[in-house]
């Protein structure tokens, strides 16, 4: 009986240590790509589900979707892509006008309130690419430079995929 209790508590201990090791391991890589992919220093803004849609044949515009999160709060104040990717990039928001039509508006800067997910998703906000230099092909990627008011500049690879 005593030996059984002992071996049980050993098992529990192993399980706890194991769980700690696993969560410890998964948390790091989970944040890593967002924090340090590309050449820039960590800007302290978490970037999740980042992707650009493949561009339909002959189309010279594109959209990037993602979710930003800043624990301390920050503002996205600027962004750019290399000329080999697109001529221009802007932050856009879709809104319904008085007639119920969907309209696109440029947002000069994007506020990231502390601890809140700011989701850029279809029908809401997106980063719009103009004058694509070449088609956005599924499976490829391109670098995107983001400038945050507090966090500084950050370069991140944008994978091209459907969603």
């Amino acid at each position: 009986m005593n030996r059984r209790t002992h071996s049980l508590s050993c098992l529990v201990l192993v399980a706890i240590v194991g769980m700690a090791a696993i969560t410890g391991c998964t948390q790091q890589p989970g944040r890593l790509p967002a924090a340090s992919e590309g050449a820039a220093r960590d800007a302290g803004v978490e970037i999740r589900a980042l992707h650009a849609r493949p561009s339909p044949d002959g189309v010279t515009v594109g959209a990037i979707f993602t979710t930003f999160r800043s624990d301390a709060g920050d503002t996205l104040v600027g962004l750019s892509v290399p000329a080999e990717v697109a001529g221009r990039i802007e932050i856009h928001s879709m809104v319904a006008n008085a007639e119920g039509q969907m309209e696109m508006h440029e947002i000069p800067v994007l506020a990231l309130p502390a601890g809140e997910d700011v989701e850029l998703k279809p029908g809401g906000m997106h980063l719009m690419l103009f004058q694509l230099a070449r088609p956005l092909v599924e499976g490829q990627s391109f670098p995107l430079t983001l400038r945050f008011a507090r966090g500084g500049e950050k370069v991140i690879e944008v994978p091209i995929r459907e969603d």
Binding site: R53, P56, D57, G58, V59, T60, V61, G62, A63, H92, M94, N97, E99, G100, Q101, M102, E103, M104, P122, G123, H126, M128, L129, F130, E162, D163
Partner: protein, 214 residues
């Protein structure tokens, strides 16, 4: 012992009656589920409206908003330079068609450009082929033609040319399913999930099957 089952009899009978009466009353012979999209007590009639259909390198033809017998027609007002709503809707429809399997062959897909100045026959043909093997590129030949089609569907749009050569385009973002009588049988808000589109199409095809056998 036999007494124990007695109280259940009226309940069971009721259930059987309900099942027998309920299905035909709904007009859904294989009837399962409710449409996710919007329906109207009096469906919009669009069967009498025509628009110009374009194909790269081929002469224009007149296209009527009426599905072929036993089929359904999808349509959406958009433009090819649209970064968000149009590719999302067409991409979601493509996913819905994959879910439908064999029945997907009973849906004809059409896309109406509200920006015909930029969307030539060539541009539209290439664009739509990125999403569907076969589809109808609808390009109004005049402002009047576009307005008449929009009025029939209850849609609106506006194109504002900007100094830098770009255009601001605003448009109704709903999509429509038209039956073989030229009726809009369901309208989907932007953002309707592919699974819901597929489920609605299945219900509508079931209704058509029922109507054909009656």
């Amino acid at each position: 012992m036999p007494n124990r089952s007695l109280p259940f009899r009226p309940f069971l009978l009721g259930l059987i009656l309900l099942a027998a009466l309920g299905a035909p009353a709904c007009g859904r012979p294989t009837g399962s589920g409710k449409l996710t999209g919007h329906t109207r007590p009096l469906a919009k009639q669009v069967g009498g409206v025509t628009i110009t259909e374009v194909r790269a390198g081929q002469p224009d033809t007149a296209f009527a908003f009426r599905a072929a017998p036993g089929r359904l027609l999808f349509t959406f007002f958009g433009f090819t330079h649209c970064p968000d709503l149009c590719p999302t809707t067409l991409g979601d429809l493509r996913k819905a068609l994959r879910r439908l399997g064999e029945d997907s062959g009973r849906l004809d897909v059409s896309f109406i450009t509200v920006d015909p100045d930029r969307d030539s026959a060539e541009v539209m043909t290439r664009y739509l082929r990125s999403f569907f093997l076969v589809s109808h590129a609808l390009r109004p030949a005049s402002r009047q033609e576009l307005l008449a089609v929009q009025a029939a569907f209850g849609a609106t749009s506006s194109v504002t040319r900007k100094a830098d050569g770009d255009s601001d385009v605003a448009h109704t973002a709903a999509s429509y399913i038209v039956d073989d009588q030229g009726r809009v049988v369901v309208e989907w808000d932007f953002g309707t999930k592919p699974a819901d589109m597929a489920a609605d199409l299945r219900i509508l095809f079931d209704r058509q099957n029922g109507a054909a056998t009656r």
